[in-house]
C-alpha cells in the first residue's frame, strides 16, 4: 500500500484520468442510442431489370437439406444465368445473431426456424410488397408465423402438418382398427385397449426434450386455432384450449399410457421396435424414422390425420416449420428474393425441392410446400413411401395441411419461453405438477421474465 500521500494523490489522479478517457471513448464507441422505427423503406422491392446480375450468399443448415437446395441452384441459373449463388452450410442458430449484430459478412438469404423469425424482425426486410401476389395462396398458419406488427418477415418454406403415426401391424395383431380413432378420447381408448392386450407396453409417445415437448404442445394448440400468444403478444396460456390439451397429456402420463423418451433417441427407437410404443402424434417429419432408423418395424408404420379435440374439429396442427429471411444488411437482397421466389413459387423450383433428387430418390417427404398450389393432393411431388407400406403420404399430409387453422402467431420470445413452459411441461410428465399448476407457473414466469421485459 502507498504510504506517501503525495504518491497516493498522484495515483488517484492517474486513475481518474484513465477512467475519464475511457468513458469518453465509450461515447464514440459502437452506437447504441440511435435507430428509429420501421418505415416504408424497410419493405423490399423486387428488382426491375429482366436479367439482373450479381452475387448472392445463401445460408442453409448443413445436412441433407443443404444438398437438396444445392441441387436446385442449377435450375435457378437456367432462368437467371447472371446471378451467382454462393451456397454455404452454416450453423445458423449459433452464428446468425452475432452476424446480424456486427453487420459483418451478412448473407443475403437465410433458412430459419419459424419460431425465430419474429425475434430477428428488426434486422430483416419486410416482404409484404413482394409477397403480395402470393399471399392468398400460402397456408395461413405460415403467414401468421412470419407476421410481426403487420409486416411479413419471412418467405414461408414448408408446412409441417401434424399427423398420427401408428404401428398398423401391431395394432392389427390385437384387433384395433386405427381408422376408428377420430378424437383424442378415441386415442386414449385405443391405447388402453392396446396396453390391456400387451401388458408392459406404453403405447403413446411422450416427449422428454424440453424444446420439442413444447413444440408438440403447440401442435395440439394449433389444431384448436390458438397458440402461446396472440398477434399482439398477449399470453393465451390460461385458456380452455390449453387446459384441455394439458389434461389429456396428464391423463396419458397418469394412466401409464405414455413412453417417455427423447425424440428418436436410443430408448425411443428401442421401444418402438419392441412394439411397446405404437402411437406417435408428431409432425410429418417423423417419417424419417421408419425410413432410416426403424430396422425391425420399418414397413409396419402408417400415417393418418391427427385425432380431433372435439367431434368435427380440425384434424391437424402445425409443428415447427421454417422460412427464408432476408437480412437488411445483405448486399443483394433483391436478388436473393428472386432465388426464393423461384424456389417456392415456380413449378420448376418446388418440384426440384420436393421431387426426386440425387439426395432423395423418392423425393423429400419430411414436409410439404406452404404454397398451396404446389401442395395439391392429387398432384404428388414425392412418391409413395415404401417404409410406410407404399402409403401415399403426400395425399395424407396435404389434406391434413388444409385443415390447419389460422390465427396462430409466434411471439419473438417463444424460444426463451421453453425454459419456463417447456420445463414445466416436463415436470408435469414427471408427475410433479398438475395442468393447472403448469398454466399458472409457466404463465406468470413468462409474463414476468419475458413479456414484461420486451
Amino acid at each position: 500500500m502507498n504510504h506517501h500521500p503525495k504518491r497516493r494523490a498522484r495515483g488517484l489522479a492517474v486513475a481518474g484520468a484513465l477512467v475519464a478517457t475511457a468513458l469518453t471513448l465509450t461515447a464514440c464507441g459502437p452506437d447504441i442510442g440511435s435507430g428509429g422505427s420501421a418505415t416504408a423503406s424497410d419493405r423490399l422491392q423486387a428488382p426491375t431489370s429482366d436479367q439482373p446480375e450479381g452475387e448472392i450468399t445463401i445460408w442453409d443448415r448443413s445436412g441433407d437439406l443443404y444438398k437438396v437446395f444445392d441441387g436446385v441452384i442449377a435450375d435457378f441459373n437456367k432462368k437467371y444465368p447472371k446471378i451467382t449463388v454462393h451456397h454455404e452450410a452454416v450453423d445458423i442458430n449459433a452464428k446468425l445473431q452475432n452476424t446480424l449484430i456486427t453487420g459483418t459478412d451478412v448473407p443475403d438469404g437465410v433458412f430459419l426456424d419459424d419460431a425465430m423469425v419474429s425475434g430477428y424482425a428488426d434486422h430483416l426486410w419486410d416482404l409484404s410488397d413482394v409477397l403480395k401476389p402470393y399471399l392468398k395462396d400460402i397456408a395461413p398458419q405460415k403467414v401468421d408465423a412470419n407476421t410481426v406488427d403487420g409486416g411479413i418477415y419471412g418467405v414461408p418454406y414448408d408446412l409441417n402438418p401434424g399427423l398420427l403415426y401408428y404401428n398398423a401391424k401391431a395394432l392389427e395383431s390385437v384387433g384395433i382398427d386405427a381408422s376408428t380413432i377420430k378424437t383424442y378420447d378415441d386415442l386414449l381408448a385405443a391405447a388402453r385397449a392396446y396396453q390391456k392386450a400387451k401388458p408392459g407396453s406404453h403405447p403413446i409417445h411422450l416427449e422428454q426434450g424440453g424444446f420439442l415437448g413444447q413444440l408438440q404442445l403447440e401442435m395440439f394448440a394449433s389444431q384448436l386455432g390458438t397458440s402461446l400468444a396472440d398477434a399482439k403478444g398477449k399470453l393465451r396460456l390460461d385458456s380452455p384450449e390449453y387446459k384441455q390439451i394439458l389434461t389429456y397429456l396428464d391423463t396419458v402420463q397418469k394412466e401409464g399410457l405414455g413412453t417417455r423418451a427423447e425424440y428418436l433417441g436410443q430408448s425411443d427407437i428401442a421401444e418402438m421396435e419392441a412394439g411397446n410404443e405404437v402411437f406417435y402424434p408428431w409432425a410429418i417429419w417423423f417419417s424419417f424414422a421408419p425410413q432410416q432408423l426403424l430396422k425391425d418395424t420399418g414397413g409396419d408404420w402408417r400415417a393418418m390425420e391427427l385425432p380431433a379435440w372435439k367431434d368435427g374439429g380440425a384434424r391437424s396442427g402445425a409443428m415447427g416449420g421454417s422460412s427464408f429471411v432476408l437480412p437488411k444488411d445483405g448486399k443483394n437482397s433483391q436478388l436473393a428474393w428472386l432465388f426464393y421466389k423461384f424456389l417456392m413459387y415456380d413449378e420448376a423450383g418446388y418440384s426440384a425441392v420436393w421431387g426426386p433428387s440425387s439426395t432423395y430418390p423418392e423425393g423429400l417427404n419430411t414436409s410439404i410446400p406452404a404454397y398451396l398450389p404446389a401442395a395439391d393432393p392429387s398432384k404428388p411431388l414425392f412418391k409413395p413411401v415404401p417404409a410406410l407400406g407404399d402409403q401415399d403420404l403426400w395425399k395424407v399430409a396435404t389434406e391434413a395441411g388444409k385443415q390447419i387453422p389460422a390465427g396462430t402467431a409466434i411471439p419473438s420470445w417463444w424460444n426463451a419461453s421453453t425454459d419456463y413452459l417447456g420445463t414445466d411441461l416436463q415436470k408435469m410428465y414427471d408427475g410433479d405438477l398438475t395442468p393447472d399448476q403448469v398454466i399458472k407457473d409457466a404463465g406468470s414466469s413468462i409474463q414476468t421474465n419475458l413479456i414484461d421485459r420486451q
Partner: protein, 304 residues
Amino acid sequence: MTTTVLPSAARPRARRGGTRMRRRIAPYLFVLPFVAIFLAFSVYPLIFTARLSFTNWHGAGAAEWVGWDNYTYLLGSPAFWSSLGNSAVLWLLIVPIQIVLAVIVAVLLDSAKLRLRGMYRVAFIVPFVTPLVAVAQIWVVLFDQDHGAVNALLGLVGIPDVGWLTTSAWAKPTLALLFLWKTTGFIVIILLSGLQSIDRSMYEAADLDGASPIRQLWSITVPLLRRTIMFAVVLQTLAVFQMFAEPFVVTQGGPYNSTTTAGYYLYNHITRADLGTGAANSFLLVILVMILSLFFVRMLRAKD
C-alpha cells in the same frame, strides 16, 4: 562481471544524468504494450458493458435507458441466484476432492520409479489436452441412461440404471466428474513440482523415527506443500467459477437448469438478444469476482 568501480568524479556527468532518466522512463515503456492492450480489450469493453447494462438493447435499433431496471430484475430473479448456487455447489463437488486426490497421486507418483513416472505424467495429462468438445460427446455416450457403459457396469453389480445426465440430482456430479477428469492431471503436475522442492532428509529423519507414511504425509508433506496447494486451489476456483464450455456442450444447462452455471446463465441472455440484461448480469459477476479475488489475494498474502 567487473569488480572495479570508477570513482564518481571520473564519470562524465551527462551519462549519469542520462542513466537516471532512462531508469525512470523504462518501466513506463516496458509496461506500455501491455497497458495498451489491456485498456483496449479489457477495460474499454468493461466500461461499455456498464453503459449497456442501463439500457434494454436487443441488438438492433434503439436502446432505451431503463436505469436500474435490469439490476433489480436480476437480483430479484430466482434463476440468477440459483445459477450462482450451481456454481458454488460445483465448486464444492470439485475442488476439495480434486486437491485431496491430486496430493495423494502426486505423493505416490513421487515415489515411483523414474521411468514410470514420465509415463504416468503423460497419461494423466492426456485428458487436459484433449479437445473439450470430443470429451463432451464421449461423456454423453458413456453416461447414457439406458445404453451407457457406466450403467452397464453398475448393472453388473445389481445397481439399477441412473439418470446421470437426465436428472437434476445427478447432472451436477456428472459434470463435476467431467471437470475432475479433465483437469486433475494438470493439478497433479503442479503438485509434483512442489514436491520436488521438499528436502528428502526430512523424510529420512521421519523414517528413522518410524513414522508411518500417512503420518509423514500429514505432518511433513502437506504443510510444506501449502503454498503450492493454495496456488492450485486459487487456479481451480477461477476455473470452476468461469465454467461455461462444459455445461454448454454436455448438458446445455439442464436438466431443469440444474447445471446452469453463472457463466451459462449469462450466456442465455446473450443468445436471447437480451443484451441489456446480459450486461447487467456481467457487471454483477464482475463485482462478485472482485470480492472473491480480494479474499483470495489476502489469503495468499497472509501465507507469506
